[in-house]
Symmetry: C2
Subunit: 100 residues, 2 copies
């Protein structure tokens, strides 16, 4: 586990909020026409709107979270849905507990 890379991903209020929202997507986002909020994840546009940033900025934040292992992207039709990777996050927590 790369502790610095993990920490950098969490060193942003916006990224931490995304992670928090994705714990319970149905409580934080409206239903989607395609893609189940819980099963498939939340689409980039919804995250960008709730975050109050442009779509490219949201994409960039999600990319950083994905590269650190916190979330996974799933492409369905023309949308990309992001959801938490709970198994990876559990591993990250263990890694932090071990290395800190």
């Amino acid at each position: 586990m790369d502790l610095v890379k993990t920490a950098r991903a969490l060193a942003s209020d916006k990224r931490v909020r995304i992670l928090s929202w994705l714990k319970d997507p149905a409580a934080h986002f409206p239903p989607q026409a395609d893609g189940d909020l819980v099963e498939d994840g939340v689409c980039v546009v919804l995250i960008a709107e709730k975050l109050g940033v442009s779509q490219p900025t949201a994409t960039e934040h999600l990319k950083i979270l994905a590269e650190a292992g916190f979330v996974r992207a799933r492409r369905l039709k023309q949308w990309t849905f992001y959801r938490r990777d709970e198994a990876a996050i559990a591993g990250i927590k263990q890694g932090i507990a071990r290395e800190l």
Copy 2:
């Protein structure tokens, strides 16, 4: 616990290395004339040298670690010694496990 502040403190290779060295100061630093490495902590100059940065830069890194709760400063004579705050770090680990 402020997750973003904690993450920012860890979002630097140099600060993570300091934290790691301070787990076992005697294994990483030479004996000090004043101040016990384990009891009192490690003086700023030794940390700056090992880190390969100037003294003010080391001071800045240590300040960031201290403000996030990872280390504590102890002033003895004209030296400032830094040591890990294990109780606080345990709390940080719990906080991360809870909030992530």
